[in-house]
Structures are given as C-alpha cells and as structure tokens.
C-alpha cells in the first residue's frame, strides 16, 4: 500500500510505544494482584447476599420504607434537622475560613520564615488527613452529643483543606503590589492587608464556597455518630427500625444534596457565562 505524501511514517517511535505498553502491563498486573488479594482475604458473604432468604429480607426491608412518614410534627422535626445541617456546614466553613487564613499566613512562603512554615504545614496536613467523621467522634468526648461536635469536626477538617489552598493562593499572588508597598516602608501587616489579601480574596472566597458545598453533604451524615443534623435522626430511627420515619429522613437528605448540586451547577453557569 502506498502512503499519501505528507503523512508521517509512524505516529510514535516504537521504543516509546513499547515502553508505554510495558508500563501499562505492569500497572495492570499490580492492580490485579491487589484486587485478587483483597477479595481472597475478605470473607465476603456473597452467599448471604444472593440467597433466597436475603432477597426476601431485602424486599421486606425496602417495602417498609413506604409510605414515608409525612405527619406534620415529624416533617417539622426533619425540617429543623435539615436547617441544623445547613447551619452546621455554614458555621463550620466560616470557622475554617478564619483559622485556615490564620494558619495559611505562616504556611505560605511569602510572609513567613521556614522556622514556622514546616510545623504549620505538618499541622495542616494532619488536620486534613483525618476525615470529618473521625474528628466528629473525637469531638464527642469534649463537646458531648449534638451539633456543636459536628460543627467543630467540620471546622477542623476544613481548616486543614482551606489552610493549604489559601497558602498556595497567597504564594502564587503576583508580588508586584507587595514589593511596591514594602519599598514605600509599609509594615508587614499593612502589606498583607492592602496588597496580598485584596489580590487573593476572590480566590479564597471561591475555595471556601466550594468547601461549603462539600460540607453540606458531609454535615448530613456526620450525625450518624451522634454529632447532630439529619444524620443523627437517620441513625436514631434506623436503629429503632422505624422505617417510615427513616425514609422521610433519607428523602430530606437526598433533596438537600440534589438542591446543593443544582444550586452550585446553576451558580457556576451564571458566573462563567
């Protein structure tokens, strides 16, 4: 077959292609080994799951969800828990913005010496590595059952996330205005307030809004360990096998998540167009 003029003889040199394929093969092999080892070492009860008995149990279980409990007092209780969830996420995010900014300043290269930077970064990483739910069950010991434990848990985890993002934003701010102010003899606090912060403020705000969106979702399940909000109602009624009430709480949870998704999609569309 003759090749049309101008078409290169081959797309990639064979050695490169071969290397890529060998890499892919190693990756696949490692993944398969890990997956096989996982399934082999866990005593998964497939038989229980796919047996006749469990099919019946599952069907009964699902049937008990209907109809959801729609009595006005209970709906009012769920609405209050939904508001509580939203409030937990909002306050947790606000606290995290505050503490995230306070920790981001020593963590960023622009405003601090290495002496402070390393320990603050370690602290931020540790805050971030522990999930909200684990923080919540730790906070229960200090704050007792209720939404305050959940709020503090959200604040702690989000401080780690936002602190790191804020530090990166501050480091990446264009240095011009800060240099100009320093050359005029401004003090470090003035440089921060009048040069760095105004430059990065929109970015900090958009990171915070994004985390708030995440936190609403997280707040709705935190209550499962007793930290308030919809999750606490869910765990309570599921524990008592009150399936109709559980179904109402689940519905409220889904509506909340879908509403947040829709609002954020709509806001993004409105901002980009």
């Amino acid at each position: 077959m003759s090749r049309a003029p101008g078409v290169p003889a081959r797309v990639a040199p064979p050695s490169q292609l071969l290397a890529a394929r060998v890499r892919a093969a190693w990756l696949l092999l490692a993944a398969c080994a890990l997956i096989v080892a996982s399934f082999w070492s866990l005593d998964l009860q497939w038989r229980a799951l796919f047996s006749q008995d469990s099919a019946h149990a599952m069907a009964r279980f699902v049937a008990e969800f209907f109809p959801p409990d729609a009595s006005p007092p209970f709906v009012r209780k769920v609405a209050r828990a939904t508001l509580e969830t939203a409030a937990m996420s909002a306050l947790g995010t606000l606290l995290a913005m505050l503490f995230g900014l306070l920790l981001a300043l020593p963590a960023a290269r622009t405003h601090a010496r290495a002496l402070w930077r390393v320990p603050t970064r370690l602290l931020l990483n540790a805050l971030r590595a522990v999930p909200e739910l684990v923080w919540a069950s730790l906070m229960l010991i200090a704050a007792g059952l209720g939404p305050m434990a959940g709020t503090l848990a959200l604040a702690l985890h989000t401080t780690g996330v936002l602190g790191r993002l804020f530090a990166e934003a501050i480091e990446n701010a264009p240095p011009g205005p800060a240099c100009a102010l320093r050359a005029q003899g401004a003090r470090p606090a003035q440089v921060l307030l009048y040069a760095t912060l105004p430059q990065v403020a929109p970015q900090l705000l958009s990171y915070s809004l994004y985390r708030w969106e995440n936190n609403i979702r997280a707040a709705s399940i935190l209550g499962v360990v007793g930290a308030g909000g919809l999750g606490q109602l869910l765990a309570f009624h599921l524990g008592l096998f009150q399936m109709a009430r559980t179904a109402t709480v689940l519905l409220a949870m889904l509506v909340l998540v879908l509403a947040v998704d829709g609002a954020s999609y709509w806001a993004r569309r409105a901002m980009t167009s």
């Binding site: 229980a48 409030a87 999930p131 684990v134």
Partner: protein, 282 residues
C-alpha cells in the same frame, strides 16, 4: 490602619473610604445572619472549658501519650489496616465493573443515530435512564448505603464493599462518560459511519485517546475509597474504623493515638502512590 475605622484627621470618613457605608451594611447583615447559625448549632464553645468536660478531655488526651505499641495490639492494627485497604480495593474494583458498562451506555459519543443529526428518541431515553441510575447511586452517601447494607447482610466487610461499589460506581460512571465525550469525536464517528460496531468504535476510536485519563481518575478514586473505607468502619463495616470506634467508646486514648497515626500514614502513603502512578501515566 484598617479601612472603615474612624479617621484620626479632620477629613470626613466618606472621603477616605468611599465604600464605607456598603462595608458597614455588609458587616451588620453578616452579624445578623451569624446569630441564628450559632443558635441552630447550639454553638457554646465555653462548654468545652467547663471543669467536668475539661477533666474528661484531659484524661482522654493524656492517654494518647505514649501510643499503644504492644506487639499483639500492633498485630491487630496491621490486620485491620490491611482489611481497610482490601475493602477499598474490592469496592473500587466492583465500582469499576459497574461503571464501565454504564459509562458506555451513557456516553453520547458512541451514538449511531446522532451521526445523522439528532439522537433518536429510544437511544436518548436509554442514555438518560443510565444517567439517572448513576445519579441515584452516587447521591446516596456511601455511609447511608453502608448503614442499609449492615441491616441486610449484617456487620462486616461485605456492607463496606457494597457501599463503596455503589457510590463509586455512580461517580466513576459519570466521570468516565464525561471523559469519553470530551475526546476528539472524529475517529469514532468515522468508524461508526463505516459500519463498525459501538464496541469496536470504543476500542479503536475512544480508548486510545482516553486511556491515561480514565486510568488516572480510577486511581484517584481508589485513593478516596481508602479514606472512606475507614469512615465506613464506624457504622460496623469492618477495618480500622470499626477498631477505632470501639477504642473511642472505651476512651482508650493510647489505642486511638496509634490508630490515628497509622491512619494518617496510610492516607499519606495512598496519596503518594496515587500521585506517583498518575504522573507516571502522563
């Protein structure tokens, strides 16, 4: 000096900061909004510092040092850590098995009828149904799936694996479909127009373009699955989380400290492996 504070000189406030009234209004509005938030969340930080709560917390925290390092406890932690990784891996693998066919069904890039203009009604309905199924799978948080499965199959890793498989199946399927649709459609359309099947068009048109991105997203999700498999343990789905939950309930600070350290190490390790692999793929 801060914008909005009273000026020391004689010139009026408005001349120094033209936006002062707006700033003041926003400040007042946000304070007004903050109050119901504090009310709803029962946020009373001073409670943290009353003597009884302080005594319990101090006792618990004092137990953190030194972390429990007895040989048989470490052996338990190692076993539970492996179970956590195994639950995450098995869940992510099942999620992949669920996600791949749904992504293929949902992606508009493999539509034959849309070659001639608009997609026909039947295929459109099928694609929307697949998308709706994926939305339903991922909207229910994995913790709720786990709570439900614990009721059906009992305590243990099966509930965790199923919860991760369903939630992550929905997420992977959605993102896979989006990745496939963001590919250059020209090779696929040419193949389909010349009579190849949809699977052939996928393997020879879409997959060569999308493979690195698909793999890297799957690896990233595996990393997230490790984090959530710890959390799932708290509702009884096995692994490190379950162990941590029981130690917390017994206020055994030294065991909690060990497991927190192991957990932070595990997350850091998964993070490093996943980033290394993803850079390697690029």
């Amino acid at each position: 000096m801060r914008a909005g504070t009273a000026p020391a000189s004689a010139e009026p406030l408005a001349a120094r900061d033209p936006a002062w009234s707006g700033r003041l209004a926003w400040l007042l509005v946000s304070l007004l909004l903050l109050w119901p938030l504090l009310e709803f969340t029962e946020f009373r930080p001073w409670q943290l510092f009353d003597s009884r709560s302080l005594r319990v917390t101090a006792h618990f925290l004092a137990g953190f040092f030194p972390p429990d390092a007895q040989a048989d406890f470490l052996k338990t932690v190692a076993r539970e850590t492996w179970r956590t990784v195994a639950i995450a891996t098995a869940g992510a693998a099942l999620a992949l098995v669920l996600a791949a066919p749904m992504a293929l069904v949902a992606t508009a890039a493999l539509s034959v009828s849309s070659l001639a203009g608009r997609m026909a009604a039947g295929p459109l309905a099928l694609r929307q149904a697949a998308r709706a199924l994926m939305v339903a799978m991922r909207t229910v948080p994995e913790l709720v799936w786990a709570l439900v499965f614990v009721r059906v199959v009992g305590l243990g890793p099966t509930a965790g694996v199923l919860a991760i498989a369903l939630t992550y199946g929905g997420m992977l399927g959605k993102v896979f479909a989006e990745i496939l649709e963001s590919c250059d459609p020209h090779p696929t359309r040419t193949l389909l127009a010349n009579g190849s099947g949809r699977l052939q068009a996928f393997f020879y048109g879409l997959l060569p373009q999308a493979a690195p991105e698909l793999t890297s997203y799957a690896i990233y999700r595996w990393e997230c699955a490790i984090r959530s498999s710890v959390v799932l343990g708290f509702v009884g789905a096995g692994g490190l989380g379950q162990q941590m939950d029981s130690s917390l309930k017994m206020l055994a600070g030294n065991e909690v400290a060990t497991m927190l350290l192991v957990f932070i190490g595990l997350v850091a390790l998964a993070d490093a492996i996943s980033e290394r692999l993803r850079r390697w793929l690029r």
